[in-house]
Amino acid sequence: MKYFDLVDFDISSLRFPPSFYGFDRIFTTKDISITSKPTVKANILEGNADMLLNYYRKFDILHIPSYEYSLELFAKAKEQDKAFLVSISQILYNPFITYRIKNFIKVARHYNLKLVFASLARDEYSIRSVEEAASILSYCGLTRDQVRHGYSLLEKYVKPE
């Protein structure tokens, strides 16, 4: 299985290749664009549930940084086969969000939604390997295999530019 990560900085300064972290490829936000403005063309739309509910059709992956879920959005996203992004770096910088992520994952899995995991790191010290992320996310009710599967979905859901 091939694993992919998405980071938010220039990876030319990385000291270690993606394989060191266990990834086949590390994408940047230049390859896979993230926007909070629904009028902008991008791969990932991030925002609150109300905004995503209006514009979810135009984007491949949805991201709710506050991890407040909406059952209506989940039901519609399931119909349209949209995936949700879970950012590992948010847990690193704000451990209190773990509880929200745990609930978000629980409800998303109930709706059988696809969850895409990525570090969204802002520097090389925030990149976590798949196994490290699995150790962290085991406290959010996920098994190692589920986390590994989530890391393999990024390329499937978006076509990098």
Binding site: R15, F16, I91, L92, Y93, P95, D123, E124, Y125, S126, I127, R128, S129, E131, E132, A133, S135, I136, S138, Y139
Partner: protein, 114 residues
Amino acid sequence: MKATLRENYRYIVIKIISKNNLTKEDLIYILRNELPPIVGKINYPSIIPSIAYFDPIHQAAVVRVLDEGAELFRSGLALITSYKTENRNEKIHLMSLYTAGTIRKAKERMNKLD
């Protein structure tokens, strides 16, 4: 001591990723000061990490932990993002690479690192 009373240990190979090279004392400081707030002071005694071997050149180490706390240690280590002393405030990443049952196996694995 009876075999049933003996503590079982795991040896975890970690790679240190930081801007400046860390010393063994720095790593001891991190394990004693940065790790307990993450894993919790109540859970820390089920880990009791100690450095079994430190390689300052390759910036890698073998840390001995109690078997029952090995998973908690790996999770806690993954959540450490920086370490602060009076003089330093550095971003670090302590990456757990391999878990072994004997120090010999752990050292063998560590020697394979670049």
